[in-house]
């Protein structure tokens, strides 16, 4: 029997556990009916925000990307348009979280980060839609609807993350 050359450290276990929760939340969200097609609460972002505050950015990066890949493989959308929408939204929201992760402190809480992530997610998805899937300016008529949903769900997710972070172990 060959010995495994990959050393598993406690960091890997942490990432795996968090990613598993994020994947479960994404799948629950997939089966929830939505009144407007495409508007989703994005509850998996709670885990990403939790990870970024509780641990560090690189852990959150791993969790987020693992979530995108595994969920798309489970739902059968891997390398399809849905997958790229999800990937671009996640990458954009991670980019903005990376830029703004320092504001969390005395005046700003994780709610601001949640809102920024939600808006960045919408922007990332719209860029992909505009330049690849539907190359027409008409889709920008839909942008305000998605921004309003990002505002509401970003706020709710932020409040949930705050209460999650306040739980003492």
């Amino acid at each position: 029997m060959t010995r495994s050359i990959i050393k598993i450290i406690s960091q890997d276990h942490k990432v795996a556990k968090l990613a598993a929760i994020a994947i479960a939340l994404s799948l629950i969200e997939f089966f929830l009916p939505s009144p407007i097609p495409g508007v989703k609460p994005g509850i998996a972002n709670i885990i990403i925000l939790f990870t970024i505050i509780k641990f560090n950015f690189s852990t959150a990066l791993w969790v987020s990307l693992i979530r995108v890949f595994i969920v798309s493989i489970i739902l059968g959308t891997f390398l399809g348009p849905t997958f790229f929408l999800s990937l671009s939204g996640s990458v954009f929201s991670l980019l903005f979280l990376f830029l703004f992760r320092g504001i969390n402190g005395q005046y700003f809480s994780v709610i601001s980060l949640s809102l920024i992530a939600a808006f960045a997610h919408i922007i990332g998805q719209f860029l992909i839609v505009r330049f690849w899937i539907i190359p027409h300016d008409g889709i920008f008529y839909l942008l305000p609807i998605f921004l309003i949903s990002a505002l509401i769900f970003g706020l709710v997710n932020g409040i949930i993350t705050t209460s999650l972070l306040n739980i003492k172990k």
Binding site: F108, S109, L115, L143, L147, L151, I159
Partner: protein, 132 residues
């Protein structure tokens, strides 16, 4: 009930002053974008066509009723300060009447049985991506 209110207050208390600023910025951004993106240009003139023949252009800023003689009968077009509709038509399905008022640039009402089409034009014609 009182417990619920207390709980809601507990949730709201976690919002810090900077968060209010962020929320305000995002709300104003959303409304600003909505006001830009949902601003449809208004038309100024009305073009009535019968088949391939153009019957003429009329200003939308007037209140008149026009009777147009088509191949199967008379259609009545009402122009009322910036908007226009077909109010009477001899066709069977009455799609043209059910479409109601139109007022935005490049909107069109077509009555195929009576060969009448009404479209709103502005000073500048936008490209119609379907026909162009």
């Amino acid at each position: 009930m009182r417990k619920l209110i207390k709980k809601i207050f507990q949730f709201i208390r976690v919002i810090k002053i900077g968060d209010l600023l962020t929320i305000f910025i995002f709300i104003s951004l959303t409304f600003y974008l909505a006001s830009i993106l949902w601003n449809f240009p208004q038309g100024e003139y009305l073009k009535i066509q019968m088949g391939k023949k153009e019957l003429g252009s009329f200003s939308l800023n007037q209140n008149i009723t026009k009777i147009i003689e088509g191949p199967i009968g008379k259609s009545e077009v009402i122009i009322s300060s910036g908007k226009v509709r077909i109010s009477k038509s001899p066709c069977t399905k009455k799609y043209c009447i059910h479409q109601g008022w139109i007022k935005k640039l490049n909107q069109t009402i077509v009555c195929i049985p009576n060969q009448i089409s009404i479209s709103i034009i502005g000073n500048r014609k936008d490209y119609d991506s379907l026909n162009y």
